[in-house]
């Protein structure tokens, strides 16, 4: 097992994610699916933009705060060539739109709702994610 095992911060961070998703659900009646919220800004519809911008703005604000005060939150020694990273981004962008969700919408929200679609999605992306990580680490070197 990795020496980098951090169950306490993982549980705490997870609980904050669950809290944020619950604020969206009980306050606004919406699912906090990030690929859907952000994707909606790339195909904007009148009257459906402000809340999406605000949510994404909140995410970015968290990132700016961490970059200024806790840069270790971004510490990573994963080495991937830029072209490979860009292609990975394309797959994540296209795939999450085609499959209606990502780790937040299907993972956190869908599993909490006991949605069979979300369970199928999570099992699929965990499987292909593990395969891709194993293969890429063996080809390019791992973390």
């Amino acid at each position: 097992m990795s020496s980098d095992f951090t169950p306490v911060s993982a549980l705490l961070g997870g609980a904050l994610i669950g809290l944020a998703a619950s604020v969206m659900l009980l306050g606004a009646g919406r699912v906090a699916g990030i690929s859907g919220i952000f994707g909606g800004l790339l195909a904007p519809r009148a009257g459906d933009v402000a809340w999406r911008l605000a949510f994404v703005g909140g995410l970015l604000a968290a990132g700016v705060g961490a970059a200024l005060f806790v840069p270790s939150a971004f510490a990573s020694d994963l080495v991937r060539p830029p072209l490979v990273l860009a292609l990975a981004g394309v797959l994540v962008g296209y795939g999450t739109r085609l499959g209606n969700g990502c780790t937040s919408g299907h993972g956190v929200c869908g599993l909490s709702r006991l949605s069979p679609r979300s369970l199928a999605s999570v099992l699929t992306f965990m499987l292909t994610g593990a395969l891709a990580a194993v293969v890429t680490n063996h080809l390019l070197g791992g973390a």
Binding site: G18, G29, A43, A62, A88, G89, N100, A132
Partner: protein, 142 residues
């Protein structure tokens, strides 16, 4: 207006959660997904923490009837598993396993000053725009 403020607050808390959880560290994410190497199971605990809280919140939906800020609950109702869902999830997983970013952490990290995060984010946006194009091309004429 209240909806916008609430969404901004939720986004901020969500982002802090991702940062605390370690999801903005692609090496940690890949160390979770690569079960063949020096396996780091931490991210499973992120999911457990998030679902433990959010599962409880969902139990209040029928009791409330409508959200606190008014309007109606706009929740997914489909339950069928189709090819688009599985293909989309499969492609997403491959990109996640290679790059170590899913969409939330990609957004939080785009301001971290590294070219890796910017390059991944550029690909993410391109992929979503490409989806809009293929959707329009294959959509039945109205």
């Amino acid at each position: 207006m209240k909806n916008t403020l609430l969404s901004g607050l939720a986004g901020l808390v969500f982002g802090v959660g991702l940062l605390v959880a370690g999801m903005t560290r692609p090496d940690k994410v890949v160390a979770f997904l690569d079960v063949s190497g020096d396996w780091d199971p931490s991210l499973a605990f992120v999911m457990i923490g998030a679902i433990a809280v959010h599962f409880v919140a969902y139990r209040f939906v029928p009791k409330l009837g409508s959200p606190f800020l008014g309007g109606r609950f706009a929740l997914p109702t489909r339950r069928d598993v189709d090819v688009r869902l599985l293909l989309g999830a499969a492609l997403f997983g491959i990109g996640w396993g290679i790059g170590g970013y899913c969409p939330g952490p990609a957004l939080v990290s785009v301001v971290n000053g590294t070219s890796d995060a910017l390059v991944f984010f550029g690909g993410l946006v391109a992929g979503m725009l490409a989806f809009n194009v293929t959707e329009r091309a294959t959509a039945p004429a109205e």
